[in-house]
């Protein structure tokens, strides 16, 4: 029988290893799996590559992984936000590697990984510093940059509701990167506010079908 629910945050992140590439959903403070991040911080793995739109701010979420020096590299689009002091400190120290890309390219690269594509040509970034060293091509008079898929070992995502098969429904703009990350990782773990009975989610508004999800954990209220 298919039951992806796990009983604790610890079980939810079991198996993450030092050196892993970890996608973390969310945009700003919206749709972020704060409890999974806290569990990851306490888990013991380090030398992580964090793939997330932002690089944390203040003393919560991704910022705490940076503060505790568990992160070797950040792959993101917008590391600098109000209160992103830990990222800025490590960056100035040269203690962290940054791979920066346009946000649409970031989302599309993860989707390509999840969709089994080998790469795509995007006009975004053509003629800019972010295309340096990349293959480019002119197609029908427009310049494009070839971008490869972006995969991860683990995706930690956040949804509003889940059922035991891992179907996910989101709340408003909390959806953001969570659906594409769910597709693009070997192991996808979803933190949710509510676990509901099978059949309670509207089949027309399941934005992440359960096939993309390996584990579901209910929030414990730890952060």
């Amino acid at each position: 029988m298919i039951d992806k629910r796990v009983a604790s945050l610890g079980e939810a992140i079991a198996g993450i290893k030092s050196g892993d590439a970890v996608m973390i959903g969310g945009f700003g403070s919206s749709g972020i799996p704060f409890e999974l991040i806290e569990a990851l911080r306490l888990h013991g793995a380090d030398d992580l590559t964090i793939i997330s739109n932002n690089a944390g701010s203040h003393e919560i979420g991704i910022a705490t992984l940076l503060r505790d020096r568990l992160v070797r590299k950040v792959v993101c689009t917008y590391p600098r936000s109000q209160g992103s002091v830990w990222f800025e400190k490590l960056y100035e120290e040269g203690a962290i590697e940054l791979e920066l890309m346009p946000q649409g390219t970031f989302a599309e690269r993860m989707r390509a990984a999840g969709a089994g594509l080998g790469g795509f040509f995007t006009p975004t970034g053509y003629g800019t510093k972010l295309a340096d060293g990349k293959e480019t091509r002119e197609i029908d008079g427009v310049g494009y940059v070839l971008e490869p898929p972006l995969k991860a070992d683990v995706a930690l995502i956040k949804a509003h509701k889940a059922d035991k098969w891992g179907n996910l429904a989101y709340n408003t703009a909390g959806r953001n990167f969570n659906p594409v990350m769910a597709m693009a990782a070997d192991l996808t773990v979803a933190e949710v506010e509510h676990i509901v009975e099978l059949g309670e989610l509207d089949p027309e508004s399941v934005a992440t079908p359960g096939i993309f999800v390996d584990r579901v954990v209910a929030q414990e209220g730890i952060v």
């Binding site: 700003g28 800019t128 510093k129 703009a173 959806r175 990167f177």
Partner: protein, 214 residues
């Protein structure tokens, strides 16, 4: 010389947003444009994080923690709005479906190149977000920025010195002094604010401007 305040600059730009437009307003001064769209025009605002139909700031106490805009401020959804994921949101942006993007700018070149995401300060971490996708994807890109830097240096130049966001993407620049259109022949002043003369504006511009058409 007449120098518009940011709110006045935003108000001027807002006059050029047609009824029925789908619009993305960049972080900073551009978001002020929403306050000045003339009565009777229906405009739908897009936010890169997956919202079409961004509404006003919620009443205190009614904020939805997930419902924020690109500047990470709490917003609401208007009736007829909807949500989608980031891949779909950027498909919308990059695919030419937005009518207008209003972006801030560090520099704009005579041929419509835009620099608005990084300076030449290597210590400071760069951040690009959705700026490049918007600049290349929206049908029309308006830049809303002061005519010169705080130090009085021109921001409209022969060539951008800061890293580019997009090449040949800017249609119009709305500054505190004038409205300038990027044409095939170069940047043309299409409107001078107050008593500003063409020569006044040319004097603080780093590239040759064309005078208003007769």
């Amino acid at each position: 010389m007449t120098r518009l305040e940011p709110a006045q600059m935003a108000e001027r730009l807002a006059q050029d947003i047609p009824d029925g437009s789908y619009v993305n307003l960049g972080i900073g001064m551009p978001v002020m444009v929403a306050n000045y769209v003339p009565e009777g025009r229906e405009v739908i605002y897009h936010s890169e994080n997956g919202i079409l139909g961004v509404g006003p700031t919620p009443e205190p106490g009614t904020e939805d923690p997930d419902l924020i805009n690109a500047a990470k401020q709490y917003v609401t959804l208007i009736k007829g709005g909807c949500y989608f994921d980031t891949a779909d949101s950027f498909a919308m942006m990059r695919g030419g479906h937005l009518d207008i993007a209003v972006l801030g700018g560090f520099q704009v070149s005579a041929d419509g190149n835009l620099a608005n995401w990084a300076t030449d300060n290597e210590k400071y971490p760069p951040a690009v977000g959705g700026a490049m996708d918007l600049s290349v994807g929206a049908k029309t890109v308006y830049v809303l920025m002061r005519h010169t830097t705080k130090d009085g240096e021109p921001k409209i130049l022969d060539t951008c010195t800061y890293p580019l966001t997009g090449t040949g993407v800017v249609s119009r620049i709305y500054t505190d002094l004038a409205v300038i259109e990027i044409t095939e022949n170069g940047p043309r002043v299409v409107e001078l604010f107050g008593d500003n003369s063409f020569e006044d504006v040319q004097a603080v511009t780093g590239t040759r401007l064309l005078p208003p058409a007769a």
